[in-house]
């Protein structure tokens, strides 16, 4: 492992460090200023959906982090869409940019170091227009967050405020987005939500503090908070990773039922292929900040095309399938600060072909729904286009 680590040291000199800091300060200040100006004119952030059947379209989104060791291209030219009423699973290893994609959509990035520097995220408003989330000012975002798009976080233990009662925390969301509502109405709504997420003793739980509940119950509360305003899109960021298998089954079952009841879309972010297979209609596989493969669940699970997806499937033990040794993908993810200019997976790939030495592979459509970024399919499919990266030096 890590053969190339021998000669390449991860240390940077003091002058280099100063240069990076100066550059970061200049770039982030400029971006923040642009953002402040964009706040004025709605024309700047109103746009149209490419396909009105989608609730969200990511179009070459680039989210970079300007860190002290250099620019980390956490999300670099990611394009996919979430259709209305469907579940899209985003799969990848930690650090591949799946969470940053969702945070970009919510504008919850750690600013000023984290910035969406390019691309469009179009969010369907339902009346033919759409917001380009990348430029949307904070005041508008506040009406969307928790209301039209809501998020369920990984850690139910830390997502709830320990000093407020459960009821208050759910009421807060309802009251914030419906200021005309009275407190009693909000409480009624909260109790309704608690019942919806399968809490038997809802009056009791309404007056409890988070520490009095188990992990599964807390995750139910988080789901109730997320659903309080009947959002059109629910982002579930590893909703079951912190939970046990039996509780995981409960929560996934619940999410699926509620999605159908409310006709919302779910963007399910996870690293567990089993969870995705059970839940998702469409699957997006990410690797090192880019989408390497996307398609319907059948496409991805029955005909995986990208070597990374294939490797990922083979490295997971499956109950009922006896194998002598698990496949392991050789090597490790490239350094996020210095990404290679060829295919990011080339150094770990066992299926290389002649084209791989060239630039990063384009998106290739190999069936109506199945798109893969791999040169092995260059002859078989039609090239859709290359992911667009932003040159940070030009900012």
């Amino acid at each position: 492992m890590a053969k190339n680590e021998t000669n390449k040291s991860s240390y940077i000199s003091a002058s280099e460090s100063r240069r990076i800091t100066r550059f970061n300060r200049r770039v982030t200040r400029k971006l923040e200023q642009e953002r402040a100006n964009a706040n004025k004119d709605p024309v700047l952030y109103t746009t149209k959906m490419a396909n009105p059947g989608n609730v969200v379209e990511f179009d070459n989104v680039c989210t970079y982090f300007f860190t002290d060791v250099g620019t980390v291209k956490a999300v670099d030219g990611v394009s996919f869409e979430v259709p209305i009423g469907k579940t899209v699973g985003v799969v990848g290893e930690s650090g591949c940019g799946k969470s940053v994609t969702s945070l970009s959509l919510m504008q919850l990035l750690q600013r000023p170091s984290g910035q969406t520097v390019g691309g469009e995220i179009r969010f369907n408003l339902g009346d033919g227009t759409a917001y380009n989330i990348v430029n949307t000012p904070n005041t508008i975002m506040e009406t969307i967050r928790g209301n039209k798009i809501s998020m369920i976080f990984q850690e139910p233990m830390t997502a709830l405020n320990p000093v407020f009662r459960i009821g208050e925390q759910v009421d807060e969301v309802t009251l914030l987005h419906n200021p005309e509502m009275s407190k009693d109405d909000a409480k009624a709504r909260t109790l309704e939500m608690l019942e919806l997420v399968g809490i038997a003793n809802r009056e009791g739980v309404y007056n409890m503090y988070p520490h009095e509940l188990s992990g599964g119950m807390r995750q139910r509360i988080c789901i109730a908070i997320a659903l309080a305003c009947s959002p059109t899109l629910i982002i579930a960021d590893e909703p079951t990773t912190a939970l046990d298998v039996t509780i995981q089954a409960q929560i996934l079952d619940l999410l699926q039922n509620l999605k159908n009841k409310l006709n919302s879309s779910i963007m399910l972010i996870t690293h567990d292929l089993g969870v995705v297979a059970g839940m998702a209609d469409y699957v997006v596989v990410m690797y090192a900040g880019r989408v390497v493969e996307k398609g319907t669940a059948e496409d991805i699970f029955h005909h995986p095309a990208h070597p990374y997806t294939i490797g990922l499937m083979r490295s997971k033990p499956v109950v009922g399938k006896k194998v002598e040794a698990l496949y392991n993908i050789p090597g490790s993810v490239p350094n996020p600060v210095e990404m290679p200019n060829y295919c990011y997976f080339r150094d770990r790939c066992e299926m290389q072909c002649g084209h791989c030495a060239g630039q990063y592979p384009p998106e290739i459509r190999i069936s109506d729904t199945h798109i893969v970024s791999c040169y092995r399919f260059l002859e078989e499919g039609s090239v859709l286009g290359y992911p667009k990266s932003v040159n940070v030096e030009e900012l």
Partner: protein, 361 residues
């Protein structure tokens, strides 16, 4: 499952024997430090592991599987019971004898980020115990560490680096190398892969299997990831709330789980195939508090096939099929059924089981 008639043959083929192990943590009152109750983390667990085999220990979080692993190594004192490692009772050893025994039993912890000292270079982390226990002579020390690292897939030049320079997978390799350096017989792997990514998981699992093959190691593999356990284990024990509810060979238990809890647990495993139709048994509620476990069968509050005896009489640990043990009233033989009914009658006459009590648990 109070009596330990788990296995009758005591031959040398078993490296580890755990007989009716109990570990309670006392709950102290705030002022007088009086014990007001016990958290029954491990409450009568018995099993045996054959030399060179792997036993998987599965269960939900809080069911006592980690406590069980740590008590077996005497990292905590037991409350009662017996642990025999290679015929030697671990808890009968004096401090000095235990120290001599330590190299034979090692542990790999769950979180590779917190189980390595940030102040020591990797070579020292691996070598510290080797020097301490005089495993090799000082002049061969360096070569020995290099060899151990090589076996675990760590290049030699990592020796002078510090843990923070490594990724999770590499750190877990360091943890494994540290355990392996003492040439142990028995390693407790306490969720060694649950903090790692899927592709790294595969590397570590393969490494563990390879080492087992090469050095004849015996593992107790604690995990909540059932697919990993199925892959690596020869036998599997399922724990619920401090007790073992089922134990059998891996193939047997996965193809034919007997206990309703095991059935529910296995049906909850997500399968990476969108067409797979699984008949999920969704358990209601969550695991009860081990400080106040339900009377009778501990699982009866969530069980689908709960009967009257389940509420009063704890199920006995019976060999249902050859080598397939299960604690459930559904599989009672006549004698056990009789005993269970007697207990039920007795308990019923003592304190009627009220609806309020049922709600509480």
């Amino acid at each position: 499952m109070s009596d330990s008639k788990v296995m009758t043959d005591t031959e040398n083929e078993y490296l580890l024997e755990v007989n009716n192990l109990v570990k309670w943590f006392p709950i102290k009152s705030s002022f007088f430090k009086q014990t007001i109750g016990n958290v029954k983390a491990v409450d009568g667990v018995s099993f045996k592991i054959r030399r060179g085999e792997t036993m998987g220990l599965v269960g939900e979080s809080g069911c006592g599987k980690s406590t069980c692993g740590r008590t077996i190594l005497r990292l905590q004192e037991k409350t009662s019971g017996e642990v025999l490692l290679g015929g030697q009772d671990i808890f009968a050893l004096s401090k000095e004898e235990l120290r001599k025994m330590r190299p034979k039993m090692q542990i790999v912890f769950q979180d590779p980020y917190s189980s390595l000292s940030p102040r020591l270079p990797v070579g020292e982390i691996i070598g510290e115990a080797v020097r301490e226990h005089n495993i090799v002579s000082p002049d061969k020390f360096d070569d020995y560490i290099t060899r151990v690292m090589e076996v675990c897939g760590l290049p030699e030049y990592y020796k002078d680096r510090y843990p923070h320079e490594f990724s999770g997978g590499q750190r877990q390799r360091i943890c494994i190398a540290r355990a392996l350096a003492l040439s142990p017989d028995f390693i407790v792997c306490d969720e060694p892969v649950s903090a790692l990514d899927v592709s790294i998981q595969a590397q570590i699992i393969n490494l563990l299997k390879q080492l087992q093959k090469d050095f004849g190691l015996t593992y107790l593999f604690i995990s909540h990831d059932l697919s990993v356990v199925e892959h690596i284990s020869d036998t599997v024990g399922v724990m619920y709330l401090g007790s073992m509810v089922e134990y059998a060979e891996t193939e047997k238990i996965f193809s034919n789980p007997l206990n309703p809890y095991t059935k529910a647990l296995f049906s909850a495993i997500p399968i990476p195939d969108p067409d797979a139709k699984i008949n999920r048994i969704i358990l209601k509620g969550s695991i009860p508090s081990p400080a106040n476990p339900p009377k009778g069968c501990k699982f009866h509050t969530r069980c689908e096939s709960c009967m009257e005896v389940c509420r009063y009489a704890p199920p006995e640990w019976l060999e249902v099929e050859n080598g397939h043990f299960c604690a459930c009233h559904l599989y009672n033989d006549e004698a056990a059924q009789k005993r269970a009914e007697d207990i039920t009658q007795l308990e019923k006459s003592k304190s009627p089981y009220t609806a309020a009590e049922q709600k509480e648990v």
